[in-house]
């Protein structure tokens, strides 16, 4: 009897997992289908770009600036004597463009944007505004989800690109002011191992993060049940899942693209 109960528990868990995967896949398919209705989502996309992208710039730049400063100081602390100090520029450039600017910005925007989308759509769900849209003949996915996803995919790279510039610039200033490293030395280290691929990799990765954060936020918001508590749960789960997906995607890109690029060059 106990064995049957255990097997039933395993089966229920698998079913829920597969059900969640299936629901997410169905949601993705519906979004793709809805994206054909560009007359609906295109006007909304700019507004969402403003809210998700431009509105997030101060936070992203703030994080990136302090990250650049700390990286420069950490590098000089680690290099004591053994490694030339101009490698601070190399470390700051590589770390900021390849990893920290996309991931930290993605995580920050997961909290800000993901929670915002989940809470907004969740509130609309529980207040039956989405039902009203359907009643009025609007496709809620084309009207609410597609513009947010489009804005996320396009504006995340913009925000991350700006974060890259500010992060490296902050590292540069910190190196000159705090480490007494000359500008030519920092630039020498910056150029030493720089490749255009570093920037491409960071931007593409951030686009995938934008897709994940907005899609997860929209999905959690649309599936909100209950009252304010449900909205809170949706916002929380959106942030958690977005953060997890960001880290998973980070590893995915590292294995599939970064490693492949390292092998092929």
């Amino acid at each position: 009897m106990g064995t049957v109960t255990a097997l039933a528990g395993v089966g229920a868990a698998v079913r829920r997992a597969l059900s969640a995967v299936g629901a997410a896949a169905r949601f993705g398919g519906d979004v793709v289908v809805s994206s054909r209705d560009y007359l609906t989502w295109f006007p909304q996309a700019f507004q969402q770009a403003w809210r998700l992208g431009i509105g997030s710039l101060p936070l992203a730049l703030f994080i990136s600036a302090f990250t650049g400063i700390v990286l420069a100081l950490l590098a000089s602390y680690s290099f004591t004597g053994a490694v030339p100090l101009y490698f601070v520029g190399t470390l700051v450039e590589k770390t900021i463009t390849l990893e920290l600017a996309p991931v930290l910005t993605g995580l920050a925007l997961a909290g800000r944007v993901g929670a915002n989308i989940a809470a907004e759509l969740g509130t609309m769900r529980i207040t039956e505004q989405i039902d009203a849209l359907e009643t009025l003949g609007y496709d809620p996915l084309a009207f609410l989800v597609v513009p947010r996803i489009i804005a996320g995919v396009t504006m995340f790279p913009v925000v991350v690109g700006a974060a890259m510039l500010v992060g490296v610039g902050a590292g540069w200033i910190a190196s000159v002011l705090l480490l007494h490293l000359s500008t030519p030395e920092f630039v020498k280290g910056l150029r030493l191992f720089f490749q255009t691929f570093d920037v491409q990799y960071g931007l593409v990765k951030s686009a995938s993060f934008g897709l994940a954060v907005t899609a997860i936020g929209s999905r959690r918001g649309l599936s909100t049940q209950g009252g304010a508590e449900g909205v809170g749960r949706a916002a929380t789960s959106a942030v958690v899942y977005s953060a997890i997906f960001i880290l998973v995607l980070d590893a995915f890109w590292a294995v599939t693209w970064l490693l492949g690029h390292e092998v092929s060059r």
Binding site: F46, Q47, A49, W50, G53, I54, L57, V83, P84, F87, E93, T154, M155, V158, V159, G161, A162, M164, L165, V168, L190, R191, L192, F193, F194, Q195, T196, V199, R265
Partner: protein
């Protein structure tokens, strides 16, 4: 308000994109609008060289490695972009080497004559040399490889030292001390021998020194003579002497010709004389044989006496004529 937001979104997006492009271009030191020259070199192995590494000519960065690809069987093609102002040296070759201790590599373009005196590198360059535009290349060993080799050598030295330590025990030390004593005795004996023969050697060396001095003087004399001969042969007097000798030789040649003519004539005269002597000889033979009048005269005493008698008669006649001229000569007038 919505329109302003849209404009701001577009402005920020464009600004970030432009800033990124400008930053990447600046960091990569790309020359927009300048036509860069591409040079391809081929290597057996590129070590840790990577795309983006510097290309250095005479210590100055003149370009970047643009691509690394597997080429023909066993070869790797390295594509380098060079600044348009860079001039390649004559007969260029490319070396891949570490530029620092931290894994930073670079491609160095040098003249073939300036290659390091390393057999392996020379062979790699020779093997990579092909007709066409591809430059031959070789990679120098990295610090890691050198460190590994140095570590291996250090290990070998430690092994040898350990074995020496095992082999050099107390008995070996005693034998070594005995060997040292024997060497000391041998050296003292040698010193005595040297002292005893020192005077002889001194004399011999003085004599040798004298001989060498004589040889030196003789050499100098010969040298002076040679210089004189050399100066004499180059002086105008010598040239005149040679000219006179040439003239004398011509005259001598002419005299010899005349002598030769005289000799021919003399040979002809000798022929005539031989004939004359032969005739004389035959006459004398006839005279001796008593043939002919002269023979009879020479060989017959009667003839002599008659002739003598005749001469006496003639002498008497001449005396008679002198005494009596009128007997023999009558002069008449009218």
């Amino acid at each position: 308000m919505k329109r302003i937001n849209d404009a701001l979104v577009g402005l920020v997006t464009v600004a970030v994109v432009v800033a990124l492009v400008v930053a990447v271009t600046w960091v990569r030191q790309a020359d927009i609008g300048r036509h860069q020259r591409t040079v391809v070199a081929r290597f057996r192995d590129v070590g840790n060289a990577r795309v983006g590494n510097a290309v250095v000519i005479r210590g100055v960065v003149g370009g970047r490695i643009e691509g690394i690809e597997l080429g023909e069987t066993g070869w790797v093609d390295v594509r380098m972009k060079l600044d348009p102002t860079v001039r390649l040296p004559r007969d260029p070759v490319v070396l891949l080497n570490e530029s620092s201790l931290f894994g930073e590599w670079q491609a160095t373009i040098v003249e073939r004559e300036a290659l390091p005196a390393d057999d392996v590198v020379q062979r790699e360059i020779a093997a990579a040399t092909v007709p066409g535009d591809r430059l031959p290349g070789a990679s120098l060993p990295g610090i890691g490889k050198l460190t590994a080799v140095a570590g291996q050598i250090a290990g070998d030295v430690a092994t040898v030292a350990g074995r020496v330590e095992v082999a050099f025990d107390d008995s070996a030390a005693r034998e070594l001390r005995g060997s040292f004593r024997n060497v000391a005795e041998l050296s003292s004996t040698l010193a005595k021998v040297v002292r005893s023969h020192a005077s002889d050697l001194d004399t011999l060396s003085r004599q040798l020194s004298g001989v060498i001095g004589s040889l030196d003087r003789a050499t100098r004399t010969v040298e002076v003579t040679a210089q004189r001969v050399d100066s004499a042969t180059t002086s105008p007097e010598m040239r005149n002497i040679v000219t006179d000798l040439s003239v004398g030789a011509v005259e001598l040649r002419r005299t010899a010709t005349q002598v030769r003519t005289l000799s021919d004539r003399f040979a002809a005269s000798q022929g005539h004389l031989d004939v004359l002597l032969a005739n004389g000889d035959s006459i004398l033979v006839k005279i001796n044989a008593g043939r002919g009048s002269l023979g009879l005269l020479v060989n017959d005493p009667t003839m002599y006496y008659r002739t003598d008698s005749l001469v006496a008669q003639l002498r008497a006649l001449a005396a008679d004529i002198q005494a009596n001229p009128k007997k023999y000569v009558s002069v008449r007038i009218f």
